[in-house]
């Protein structure tokens, strides 16, 4: 009889858990020899499968044949039937079925710990949400661990293209826990990480490259609040409530005047 946590351990192994659940699984595995063994087995199997089963890729002859076939395809004049059928493939019934099934099953089977969400539109918003999700996976959150702004801020120099405002607001409930570098809008963005109760708030910042700011939005359960100070665009991302998120945004905005400037000339 397998341990009741085995599916969650598997999801942890596959990188599908948020930070809180991942931490719980790690704690559980320390105490559960069965789940520790499962993790080892999963890794062994993955290594075996990834070190060369099956064909590496399409044979060159097939590739050539396909390119020739494409050459003989006449560009469709007007909407063609196949295009119609494939239009917005995500809204096709089978796809919709899978997605609605996801929501239903997640609740029914108590697997709401998975990081899920619908496809996103604005590539920047998508990048931000992906960065947030990635940051919540084990060991991705923080590259410099510090509650001291005098440690975090210099760390960004040379690692990111910007020097954002960094401050600890522990007294107001937003504890500075560290920072890391990320890649957004073709730049090395700075990320300052705060904790607010059990929630993680990532504050991304990068040099403004386009006119308007994206609108504040909610994706995959994460709120994204955008603002601009000087030449820097900021985005705070978290699964806290809007009020809590905006509390931090206000604190940073109050501090930020005159501080946010591109770090490199």
């Amino acid at each position: 009889m397998p341990c009741g946590e085995s599916l969650r351990v598997q999801a942890y192994f596959d990188g599908e858990l948020d930070a809180l659940n991942a931490a719980e699984v790690e704690r559980h595995a320390e105490a559960c020899p069965e789940c520790r063994a499962l993790l080892e087995d999963l890794q062994q199997l993955r290594t075996a499968l990834q070190t060369g089963v099956g064909p590496a890729g399409a044979p060159p002859a097939l590739r050539a044949r396909i390119l020739r076939t494409l050459d003989s395809e006449v560009p469709a004049a007007g909407p063609d039937r196949n295009a119609e059928r494939l239009r917005d493939w995500r809204s096709r019934p089978f796809w919709k079925g899978a997605l609605s099934g996801i929501a239903g099953t997640a609740i029914a089977a108590g697997i709401a710990f998975l990081v899920l969400g619908p496809p996103l539109a604005d590539p920047l918003v998508e990048d931000l949400v992906n960065a947030q999700v990635r940051s919540l996976m084990p060991n991705h959150l923080i590259e410099v661990v510090s509650t001291d702004k005098h440690t975090v801020k210099p760390w960004f120099a040379g690692r990111t293209d910007v020097s954002p405002v960094v401050a600890d607001f522990a007294q107001q409930g937003y504890r500075l826990v560290g920072g890391r570098a990320d890649y957004l809008e073709h730049q090395r963005a700075a990320v300052v990480v705060y904790e607010h109760g059990p929630h993680v708030i990532n504050v991304f910042s990068w040099a403004a490259t386009r006119g308007g700011l994206p609108k504040n939005t909610t994706r995959n359960g994460y709120h994204l609040a955008f603002w601009r100070t000087g030449n820097l665009v900021y985005c705070a991302v978290s699964d806290t409530g809007w009020d809590e998120l905006k509390g931090l945004v206000r604190l940073l905005q109050d501090l930020g005047v005159g501080d946010g400037r591109p770090a490199m000339e």
Binding site: L7, P75, D88, W95, T105
Partner: protein
Amino acid sequence: MDDRRRRFEALVLPHLDAAYRLARWLSRSPGDADDVVQEAILRAYRGFDALRGTDVKAWLLTIVRNCHWTALKQQQRRAHVPLPEEHDVPALIATTPEPESASIRRDEERTFDRLLSALPEEQREILVLREIEEMDYRAIAAIVNVPIGTVMSRLARARAALRARWLQEAQGEPHAVR
């Protein structure tokens, strides 16, 4: 080359290898895999203008899977023969004798080819998507068209089954020490 074709080659063709691997593991026959992939790429090209999603790889693999099933049904209708039993299909890579110098590692790889080939299709498919193509649960759920809870339980079963066969093999036929 027109702009549309260029975009297609830039966005979709990088996933041709993934498409081929999936087709190969699904059909377990190089010839069938070629046909399935060619048909899938053609369908993708025709429907490319309407592609709105961002996960091109998942989109293409969904088409590959559909093409595989269509081809399989046509074959069955034509031949009126039942599908081969899951257990007596040949390994994906023919087991020609290896030279003496072949490493144990090479044996291991062939073992896994054979073990994976012998799994039921739905287990084989989910293992390929997760471990070889490294798709996340959400993408797998969309490609295979099952709820995400099913992805998780099927994946767990598939891993357990493959591991069980692997252990069986290791106990039954220990490697000759060279």
